[in-house]
């Protein structure tokens, strides 16, 4: 499989289904594609928007280094990661991850592994905007525990 693995940070909304369709196209040696889409929650009105800040050239490089390690660790054929930055409204997609492998176990596990990293350790800064203003948030204890499962 020669498709280059790709990472994109985008300030524009994206459609996870279209990304998955594109990722699956033209494969005749891939037995398994796993994917994940994370959406912004409204938290019953407590969250008006989510704001994600990245450091272009640093954030994408850090994600690529981690994802390339994951590719080797799980024997992936390739992967795609698309991450929103900027202001994100409830219901919009924040992140899309797809992994391709010969068999399903590697695809599932690598997708889970990449999401645990993206949710807890990737270089983003996250602000939740509620009805009473915004606040910067740090990874939850659960996010850290999820990421430590793989250590």
């Amino acid at each position: 499989m020669t498709t280059p693995s790709k990472i994109a940070l985008t300030s524009e909304p994206f459609e996870p289904g279209a990304l998955l369709t594109a990722f699956c196209a033209g494969r005749d040696e891939t037995g398994a594609v796993a994917s994940f889409a994370g959406l912004a929650r409204a938290e019953k009105g407590a969250a008006v928007a989510l704001e994600l800040e990245a450091y272009p050239g640093f954030t994408d490089t850090a994600i690529a280094a981690f994802a390339d390690d994951a590719k080797t660790r799980f024997g992936l054929q390739d992967y795609a990661i698309v991450h929103r930055v900027g202001r994100i409204a409830p219901g919009e997609a924040i992140v899309f991850v797809a992994t391709a492998a010969v068999h399903r176990r590697a695809a599932f596990e690598a997708c889970d592994f990449l999401m645990d990293y993206l949710k807890s350790r990737a270089p983003f800064w996250k602000k939740e905007h509620g009805p009473d203003g915004g606040r910067w948030i740090e990874p939850t204890a659960q996010d850290r525990t999820d990421a430590q499962r793989w250590d």
């Binding site: 640093f58 949710k119 983003f124 996250k126």
Partner: protein, 79 residues
């Protein structure tokens, strides 16, 4: 002149996120920033704040060249 970038809560605290500052070293730069804005100077030295020079994390003192990019990174939240 070094280009200084602030992220997350540090940018909110300072009221800016991208500024050119004259400094020949990282400690010199910290001194200049703290002289202008003591609260920012304290926050930049606070726990969990990392520094990247030209997009590589550095620890402690580092020389700065003309055109160096210095980014102050508060604890990362994940996406």
């Amino acid at each position: 002149m070094a280009r200084v970038l602030l992220f997350g809560r540090l940018a909110d605290l300072a009221g800016w996120r991208d500024r050119a500052v004259e400094a020949g070293s990282l400690n010199g730069l910290r001194g200049v920033l703290a002289g202008v804005d003591p609260a920012l100077g304290e926050a930049l030295a606070g726990p969990g704040v990392q520094v990247a020079v030209d997009k590589t994390i550095v620890r402690g003192e580092a020389p700065l060249a003309a055109g160096s990019e210095v980014a102050f990174l508060p604890p990362m939240s994940g996406g």
